[in-house]
Structures are given as structure tokens and as C-alpha cells.
């Protein structure tokens, strides 16, 4: 008798646990779905280029193959970095060791402050700009009949 009651209780407990786990799983997926829906950041090449040109990473991270100084990466090396590492690198704190250099350079100071004030989406676009630097760029020129009338 006792054994039957114990079996029944355990069976019920198992059913409750299964139901709970199913409910929780449903909640998880709905949360994930909600997260996906709220991420509205679009990677926009033109916006990324404008940000890159505004921040002007290449003023310090040279386009040349050789570093300007041993501790400042070339643009190619920066672009080679993993995106997660880049995300961390984009904060001003990572540039602070060179602050004495910037003290008489208001434009660079302003550019670096701008990095810190970037929104999450802008930061993603800036990372895209940096990663694009090392990627091949194929430019296709298409031609159509002229639509602008001769002056």
C-alpha cells in the first residue's frame, strides 16, 4: 500500500516537473523571440564609412605596412582583430596610455570622446568599418543610357 502511494506520488511529481520544464522552455523561447525582434540595429555601409571617416582611426593606425611606433597597431592589424576584442578596444580607456600625446591635439581628443559616446548600434557599424578594411572589395561599374540632358 505504502509502496503504491510512494509510486503514485513520485509519478505525480514527475508529471509536475515535466509540465514546469515545458512551461519554462516556452517562456525562454518567447524571450529569445522578443530579443530578436527588438534588435533594430542595421549594419549600413555608408553609415559605417561616415563613422570611420569621422573618428579617423587611420590618423594613428597607419595605412602603411610598418607601425609608426611599436605599441600602436597598423590599420591592417586592427582590422585583423577579433570583433569581440575590437569591441573592448573601442573604448577610450584602451587609448588612455597615449593621453599625454593628445593633450595638445583637440581634434584627436574630440574623436576619442566620440568613440565613448557612440550608441551600441553605431559601435557595431564602426566595428564593421574596421573589419571591412581587410576584406576584398569588388567594385562593379555598370553602364546605362544617359538620362541627364546635354547642356
Amino acid at each position: 500500500m505504502d509502496l503504491n502511494i510512494t509510486k503514485l506520488s513520485l509519478g505525480n511529481l514527475l508529471l509536475v516537473l515535466l509540465t514546469l520544464s515545458c512551461i519554462n522552455r516556452n517562456n525562454d523561447s518567447s524571450e529569445t523571440l522578443a530579443k530578436i525582434k527588438t534588435d533594430t540595429c542595421k549594419i549600413d555601409q555608408e553609415k559605417a564609412d561616415a563613422l570611420g571617416s569621422d573618428i579617423s582611426c587611420t590618423s594613428c593606425h597607419t595605412l602603411a605596412e610598418e607601425r609608426v611606433s611599436p605599441n600602436v597597431f597598423t590599420m591592417k592589424e586592427v582590422s585583423d582583430m577579433d570583433s569581440l576584442k575590437l569591441r573592448d578596444f573601442l573604448f577610450i580607456i584602451k587609448h588612455k596610455k597615449n593621453l599625454s600625446l593628445y593633450k595638445d591635439a583637440p581634434i584627436t581628443k574630440q574623436r576619442l570622446k566620440k568613440i565613448d559616446s557612440l550608441s551600441d548600434c553605431d559601435r557595431k557599424n564602426l566595428i564593421h568599418y574596421i573589419k571591412e578594411y581587410n576584406r576584398p572589395h569588388l567594385y562593379i561599374l555598370r553602364t546605362a543610357e544617359d538620362t541627364i540632358p546635354e547642356k
Partner: protein
């Protein structure tokens, strides 16, 4: 001394002409330092840009010489003008030694007053192409699939190679300048301003305007090795031009139709 400088010096010692896409005989640097302001470097001098025009067509190219002359003058005109780069991180300029000292660094505003001498040289053999040359390959057709429009030029950005269809070049004389400017780091201009812009994504006979920002971008690419360029004989580093052109032409996705017998 970089390997590149060593080659340049060696070439000079042997009485050879410096070869490569970007060459110069030492740029002049003048340091101006007004109190309370960023030090400014004024960079002046001649820089030669050489673009090898590789005729890979199967048919005759009667207009090629006049197209080359027109493109040469168009590129030189578009690259004319002073540009300013703010806060460029460089080796310290030593006014006593009149050269950059690579052991210390500083930020400078750099004012470029460069006279670009543009040379388009027609070549007919692969052996005439050096690793550090800029190349513009002239082909019969580019079958790269896009929407219903015709593909007239295809370029691998920053360094090239650049390609153009001969018949389309005859029809739209500015397209070779457009393709070469991709080699110098320019992208396409989209939207309404693209209709008159040289870098508009759809070419026409009226597309020939270059903005100050575009000039700045190209100048930045060309002046990337400023320190070495101010240090005597200079030839740009290798771009693996011949090998890259071979891969580019043989990539079936690009759909090039050209005279394979000439590519030797």
C-alpha cells in the same frame, strides 16, 4: 631602412629607372610651429603615378592611344589640389637633421601640396608588369552578372587590379579614371549626387566630379608611407600585381572575355 628603400637605392645605383605605381625622389618637408597650435608639416614635391595599361583585347583597339592620353590628363586634373590631414601620428620630424626620427613620435597637421605626374603606359606582355605596378587591363567583355545593366568595369579595391571593357571605354571616356580611383581607395557614390559624380555606381558621359573628401581619401592612400617618401628615392611596396591580375581574370564569377594568348 625598409626592403623597399633598399631596392630603390639599388635600382638607382645600377642606373635603372625607378619602377612602380608610386615613385618619387624625396618629398620636401617644412615644419611650421606657431605657439599654442599643433605643429604643421608642409609637404611638397613631385610624385609619379604609373599605370600600366595592358591591352588584352582580341579585336583591334584604334582609339586606345587617344583614350590613354585623355585618361592620363583627367587623372592628373582630378588629383590636383591641396589637402589637409589633421592630427596625423608620425615619427618626429627633426628640423636639424631635416628628416623624420623613427625613435620618437608626435601628432602633426599635415598640409599636402603634391604635384602628381600621371603616366599611363601601354604594355603588351606580362613581363612588363612589376609587382608594385598599378594595372588597368583592357578586355573584350565582363560577364559579371548584375541586374539588367551592362558591366563595363570591375576593380579589386585598394591596389587593384582594375579592368575595363574597351568598347565601353570608347563610349564613356571617364570610366578608366573611375576604375583607377577604386585602386586608390574610393568607393561608389549612391543616391542623387551620384549622377554627376565620377564615382557614381552607374557610369554615364556626364559623371566626372570628384569631391574634396574623395581627394583627401586618395591622397591619404598615396601618402601612406610619407616618412619613407621624404627619405630620398622611393618606390611603393609590392601589390602582387601580376599574380592578382591572373587570379582576377581567371575567376569564372567575373566572366572576363579577353585574349588569353596576350596574357603571357
Amino acid at each position: 631602412m625598409t626592403l623597399n628603400q633598399l631596392f630603390a637605392k639599388d635600382a638607382l645605383a645600377q642606373g635603372k629607372k625607378l619602377s612602380g605605381g608610386i615613385t618619387c625622389n624625396g618629398l620636401r618637408i617644412q615644419l611650421r610651429h606657431a605657439p599654442g597650435k599643433m605643429p604643421e608639416l608642409l609637404v611638397t614635391g613631385d610624385v609619379t603615378l604609373t599605370i600600366k595599361v595592358f591591352d588584352l583585347t582580341t579585336t583591334g583597339v584604334p582609339k586606345l592611344h587617344s583614350l590613354i592620353a585623355a585618361t592620363q590628363s583627367n587623372i592628373a586634373n582630378k588629383l590636383r589640389g591641396e589637402t589637409m590631414e589633421y592630427d596625423r601620428y608620425l615619427s618626429n620630424y627633426d628640423t636639424k637633421a631635416n628628416k623624420f626620427n623613427k625613435n620618437t613620435q608626435a601628432l602633426y597637421n599635415v598640409r599636402y601640396r603634391i604635384n602628381y605626374i600621371v603616366k599611363l603606359e601601354k604594355i603588351s606582355r606580362l613581363s612588363q608588369l612589376s609587382g608594385n605596378d598599378f594595372v588597368l587591363a583592357v578586355v573584350d567583355r565582363i560577364g559579371f552578372k548584375t541586374d539588367n545593366l551592362n558591366t563595363s568595369g570591375l576593380t579589386d579595391g585598394k591596389g587593384g587590379p582594375a579592368t575595363v571593357v574597351y568598347n565601353d571605354w570608347c563610349k564613356y571616356p571617364n570610366i578608366s579614371t573611375h576604375e583607377f580611383f577604386h585602386t586608390l581607395g574610393l568607393g561608389h557614390i549612391k543616391g542623387t549626387s551620384s549622377k554627376k559624380s565620377l564615382m557614381g555606381e552607374v557610369a554615364g558621359t556626364h559623371n566626372n566630379a570628384v569631391s574634396l573628401n574623395e581627394l583627401f581619401i586618395m591622397n591619404k592612400y598615396l601618402m601612406a608611407n610619407l616618412v619613407d617618401m621624404s627619405n630620398g628615392q622611393y618606390a611603393s611596396p609590392t601589390l602582387n600585381t601580376a599574380e592578382n591580375l591572373r587570379k582576377f581574370l581567371n575567376n569564372p564569377t567575373n566572366g572576363f572575355k579577353y585574349n588569353k594568348a596576350k596574357f603571357r
